[in-house]
């Protein structure tokens, strides 16, 4: 079972995609097939999470099969495996897809078959990114996941969808093409594309610097960090709700995951060297993203910019380079997927009913749409990191850890906690509270069972992770410790010691 788990996880959505595409079934049946496939994949994802041995270091459930020979870089393998960092991402991705499928009948009104095909194909691509343990395989999945979203935004998106989708693909391609160069150089230099081996290797520092720059550019665009972020609001605003959920929930996580796996872990020397700058970029993202979010009048744009701010936290945590911050960064990645995913679903709920996303078009929904208000408030609270919700645990760990290595940046990042409340509560004020200004908001269709089914698990997860994050943190602990061990020698060399900067006159312990 363990051997077959990952190939199965990957193969199921892939097979499901083609099954949907080629089956002669009617639309309803196709939806059911897709849902069955997605649920089975989600079940496997949960099974993976449960069966994952928290106390065991390194990759688990590994699978290997030869693929093709690359002259100078040995045998390219179909190598799969998960460690503490990727297991969370895999489970999150697998869980989000059925939720997206659940709400899709609300806004996918044409060409359902194609939509289901692309969605499942995208799931395979995303899972592949997190599972791949071979550079080439990773890259292939990385790009594969792009095309489905290109079509999903381009076909089922809003008014300006074509501009948005081309911008999204081209922008992210700039990064991945540069990454390809770095990838080839590394593979040729080490004569292998085996990630597990490369993660043990000490590469030449000059090569590390080059490769890190290549890889990081790609990831930073994907995350995205300021100033590479402007594709995101456009893509989000134009994407159908399901696409936004996947984009925020998983796609962006590919960037943060990449930063950890192929940034820090593979090129530790370069990572240590660049870490302060990247942490600065993260903090800039937090503050800048929050400010811009505050000024938005479009609900979806606001949530999109809030993503920029949240992912700033993740970047800050990733490059604080200590266990606490790293664990926080990984967890916050999951959190962002859940809470921002929920927020995008909620935006979609309104859009399906009113066909507008202008904040000013709403107001007083707490009175006319109380169930919606309840869910939106919970998602907002998770998003602003109220203790007891998942956001708090992640932000606390990130800021606490970052404070150790980069105290001033942590303090500045902490401002995000205040600014987050400013714009998120501002949004709630405009949408939920105040008098009902538009009569159409008095007769909104109540939440459909499918919408409940999609949102309730997300809200439950927010609270569960907020109150009992131990199962997640335990699973990431060893992996994050391994990451820190990987960078530690270079930190000593760089003089950026792991110990906190002590106030004057105090002896290090």
């Amino acid at each position: 079972m363990n051997q077959a788990l990952l190939p199965l996880l990957l193969g199921l959505p892939l097979a499901g995609a083609f099954l949907v595409l080629l089956s002669p079934a009617g639309e309803r049946l196709q939806r059911w097939i897709a849902m069955a496939v997605a649920l089975a994949t989600a079940a496997l994802g949960i099974q993976l999470f449960v069966a994952f041995q928290a106390g065991q270091e390194g990759f688990q459930f590994t699978f290997q099969a030869p693929w093709f020979r690359l002259p100078g870089a040995g045998e390219v393998q179909i190598a799969l495996g998960v460690d503490g960092i990727s297991v969370l991402m895999v489970t999150l991705s697998a869980l989000l897809v059925p939720i997206v499928l659940l709400v899709s009948p609300g806004h996918i009104l044409t060409r359902t078959r194609e939509y289901l095909f692309w969605l499942l194909l995208m799931e395979a691509g995303m899972l592949g990114v997190f599972l791949a343990l071979d550079l080439v395989l990773f890259y292939v999945f990385w790009e594969l996941s792009l095309i489905p979203l290109y079509f999903i935004i381009g076909i089922w998106g809003g008014e300006n969808r074509i501009y948005a989708t081309i911008k999204f693909v081209l922008y992210t391609l700039v990064g991945s093409l540069v990454m390809l160069v770095g990838l080839i150089r590394v593979a040729l230099d080490r004569g292998t594309t085996d990630v597990a081996a490369l993660l043990r290797d000490d590469l030449d520092p000059e090569l590390q610097r080059f490769a890190f720059a290549c890889f990081a550019l790609s990831f930073l665009i994907k995350v995205p960090v300021v100033p590479f972020h402007t594709w995101l609001p456009d893509a989000h605003v134009q994407a159908p709700a399901g696409g936004s959920v996947i984009l925020a929930g998983v796609m962006l996580k590919m960037g943060t995951y990449g930063l950890l796996r192929y940034g820090v872990q593979m090129f530790p020397a370069a990572a240590v060297e660049f870490a302060p700058w990247l942490a600065v970029i993260g903090v800039v993202g937090i503050v800048y993203g929050s400010l811009v979010a505050w000024a938005q009048r479009d609900f979806k744009k606001l949530v999109a910019y809030s993503s920029v701010a949240h992912l700033g936290f993740v970047v800050l945590g990733s490059f604080a380079l200590n266990v606490t911050a790293l664990q926080g960064a990984v967890l916050q990645g999951v959190n962002h997927g859940i809470s921002t995913g929920a927020l995008f679903l909620l935006v979609g709920v309104l859009y399906d009913r009113r066909h507008t996303r202008e904040l000013a078009a709403f107001g007083g929904l707490a009175r006319t749409f109380p169930a919606y208000a309840f869910l939106l408030v919970i998602a907002t609270l998770a998003s602003v990191g109220l203790p007891g919700t998942n956001g708090f645990v992640g932000e606390l760990l990130i800021l606490l850890g970052a404070f150790r290595s980069l105290p001033w940046l942590a303090v500045l990042g902490g401002l995000g906690v205040v600014l987050g409340a400013v714009y998120m509560l501002g949004m709630c004020r405009q949408v939920l509270f105040g008098p009902v200004t538009d009569e159409r908001n008095r007769s909104l269709e109540p939440l459909k069972p499918a919408e409940w089914l999609a949102l309730a698990p997300l809200c439950a997860l927010m609270l569960w992770i907020g109150l009992y994050p131990a199962p997640l943190l335990d699973r990431t602990r060893l992996a994050c410790e391994a990451l820190v061990r990987r960078v530690q020698p270079y930190q000593a060399a760089e003089g950026a010691a792991l110990t906190p900067p002590l106030p004057p006159g105090q002896e290090p312990r």
């Binding site: 400010l291 606490l400 409340a421």
Partner: protein, 673 residues
């Protein structure tokens, strides 16, 4: 001693919150089913003590009963905890309910454990006791509101969160409660959300609190990492580490200042006091419970809880004392000129919290907590009384539109009179003793000449307190009746509302006389927790008995005189007063709260908003502009290159020949070299 049953204390209200929430959902469903025919139902709330526009659902009355009983149950468990503590040796008075796992990561290990010691036990008794009374009051006050069950869900949630705040054994757990009560405050201030102003007030409260919380977080980080021993966020361990000198003095000062910023936010001290007066937008019982008796005192609790750390942090207590004294005087002055009865009480609360911080700042931790308790009684009483008055006048909150009410609402009047005496500091009432103790501690504090400055500020504040208290009584209960008798028929409130008034009135009285003359127990009771810190902060000293008596007499005179003056001055001649309030002048400035809000708006909020708008514009035009420019440049280059493709074979041959010429020339030269 392990006492897992301590979990009942917060869990009972939490269960209430859950059940009431479900009840509310049920009611909403029933209402939706019934009102499906006419969705455009009702315009919204008038904004006062909530008399809704929907017929109460038969299930709803259970919400009040459930909420009240569960909080009362928590109170009973707290009483049991009290007696368990009493049964222990003085220095072993700690009960624990350990529960290890919450957040674990590297050095960080935070559990859910609860701890009850004399300090938290005191707070728990106040929270659940006063809380239960206010729940009871609310069953009457909120009767008929369309969000009746929701209200009790929030209120129960609040009590649970507040209990988590005082019971947690770690800073993180405390922070959970800290932000949790902030959330409930947000929800309850904006309870009548259809009034946009109320929603804005709620948001303001949350955000100002968040600014404080930012300080809290930074302080927490400092205490965690810059501890030269084993890092920990356990409150007892932090105190121990501070006492053992494991923090560099500068670090401890910085950390405590950061934490104090958090306290300023939660307890509405200068400069973060601006949210509390606006918080009066919530239903009046909420003001009583949250914005007078419990939540706003959590800053006091935090400093008292970490008193060993604060005492060891040089300079921090100076700051606290000064901020406290300044706030006390500053907001007392504002309370003088408010027309809204709840606003008077709100600024009064800010002022009284200032006294508590003054007490903490001069190292009189016990006295501060004592004032916290007495204040909880009498301020809750005053708010509930004010609520009763508002109820009687069908929503009128402007004291200039009241007058002569004492014959209409006798029970309210009498109990409020007792509460007012306590607030003003009339001898024998609880407020007199607790405030006097703080002022006395200030006068004999550790700051040399600074003591007298603090005392002077405090005493001046006390005088103003007495005056505005007298004014409040005079304006609302005496003099001519200024309300519209055609429209309003004042009447005494129902039993469910007056019983809590009477109980609290008794406590306001008893908290003074009994507590001080006969028992004087609280200081002793708290001694194991804060005694050590008091000694560190104040040193061992014995003030002259004569001085104590002298100050006591002076304070009594100030209180009595001030109250009398206020009552005399404002019983009549209200029209002149109203003109003063409206024309520019000192009173007008006071009425506008020294224009602090406008100042913040101009200096902080507006620039930040401009910054945000600027950032958004920058984002669209510069960053995204650059991206679009790159695309446009590519297309333009494509257009230029396309022109070569003219369609004429001759042109093609020309380009062909040109290329061939260059290539061949290159080869020829290359081969010759």
């Amino acid at each position: 001693m392990d006492a897992p049953w301590l979990w009942l204390i917060p869990l009972l209200p939490f269960a209430g919150a859950l059940l009431n929430g479900l009840l509310h959902a049920r009611v909403l469903r029933a209402r939706a089913a019934a009102g499906a025919g006419h969705p455009a139902h009702g315009a919204g709330h008038g904004g006062h003590g909530g008399h809704g526009d929907a017929a109460p659902h038969p299930l709803e009355r259970w919400a009040g009963i459930l909420g009240t009983l569960l909080v009362a149950g928590a109170f009973l468990v707290a009483v049991r905890a009290f007696f368990s503590l009493r049964g222990l040796e003085v220095h072993e008075r700690v009960l624990r309910a350990p529960l290890e796992t919450w957040i674990r990561s590297a050095e960080l290990d935070v559990g859910w454990s609860l701890v009850v010691d004399p300090l938290s036990c005191t707070l728990v008794l106040v929270i659940t006791g006063v809380g239960a009374l206010i729940h009871l009051y609310s069953t009457g006050y909120m009767h008929g509101d369309r969000g009746y069950a929701k209200y009790f869900a929030y209120l129960n949630l609040f009590v649970g969160m507040m209990l988590m705040l005082v019971l947690s054994d770690s800073l993180v757990g405390l922070f959970l409660g800290w932000e949790g009560v902030g959330l409930c405050s947000y929800l309850l201030i904006g309870f009548w959300y259809e009034d946009g102003a109320k929603s804005d007030a709620a948001r303001k409260a949350f955000i100002v609190n968040r600014i404080g919380d930012f300080g809290f977080l930074i302080g927490m980080f400092l205490l965690f990492w810059w501890n030269t021993g084993a890092p920990s966020l356990n409150l007892a361990q932090i105190n121990q580490a501070a006492a053992d000198g494991q923090f560099a003095p500068g670090v401890l000062t910085l950390a405590c200042l950061c934490l104090f910023l958090g306290c300023c936010g939660k307890s509405a001290q200068i400069p973060l006091h601006v949210w509390l007066p606006d918080a009066m937008a919530g239903p009046t019982p909420v003001s009583a419970l949250i914005h007078a008796a419990t939540m706003v005192t959590s800053g006091i609790y935090l400093v008292a809880r970490l008193s060993p750390a604060f005492a060891h942090a040089p300079g921090v207590l100076h700051v606290i004392a000064l901020v406290g004294a300044a706030t006390a005087l500053f907001s007392a002055s504002i309370a003088l000129a408010q027309r809204d009865i709840k606003k008077v009480l709100a600024y009064s609360t800010v002022s009284q919290l200032g006294y508590m911080f003054l007490g903490l700042g001069v190292g009189a931790f016990g006295a501060a907590v004592y004032h916290l308790v007495t204040h909880a009684f009498f301020k809750a009483l005053l708010f509930l009384g004010a609520g009763s008055v508002i109820h009687a006048l069908a929503g009128e909150q402007d004291m200039l539109r009241m007058g002569g009410l004492r014959k209409y609402v006798p029970v309210t009047y009498r109990s409020m009179l007792l509460g007012a005496c306590a607030l003003a500091g009339i001898p024998l009432f609880s407020g007199f003793f607790s405030k006097d103790e703080i002022l006395f501690s200030a006068a004999t504090g550790p700051y040399g000449a600074g003591n007298w400055l603090l005392w002077l500020l405090g005493s001046a504040g006390a005088l103003l307190t007495a005056v505005y208290t007298g004014r409040l009584l005079g304006l609302s209960f005496f003099g001519p009746e200024r309300f519209d008798r055609q429209r309003v028929h004042p009447h005494e409130s129902p039993r469910s509302m007056t019983i809590p008034l009477v109980v609290l009135a008794f406590l306001s009285l008893a908290g003074g006389v009994l507590g001080n003359l006969f028992l004087h127990p609280l200081e002793e009771w708290l001694h194991p927790v804060v005694g050590g810190a008091t000694v560190v902060a104040r040193g061992e000293h014995h003030a002259a008995h004569a001085l104590e008596v002298g100050l006591l007499l002076f304070a009594a005179a100030v209180a009595a005189g001030g109250t009398y003056y206020g009552w005399r001055r404002f019983r009549t001649g209200v029209e002149a007063h109203e003109r003063q309030l409206e024309q520019p002048g000192l009173l007008r400035t006071l009425a506008d709260a020294w224009h602090v809000d406008a100042l913040y708006d101009a200096l902080v909020v507006a620039p930040l908003k401009r910054l945000a708008a600027g950032a958004a514009a920058f984002d669209t035009h510069v960053i995204d502009g650059a991206v679009n420019l790159a695309g446009a440049a590519g297309r333009a280059a494509g257009g230029a290159v396309r022109r070569i493709q003219s369609g004429f074979a001759a042109h093609y041959a020309l380009w062909f020949s040109l290329g061939a010429a260059i290539l061949l020339l290159g080869l020829w030269l290359g081969a010759r070299a």
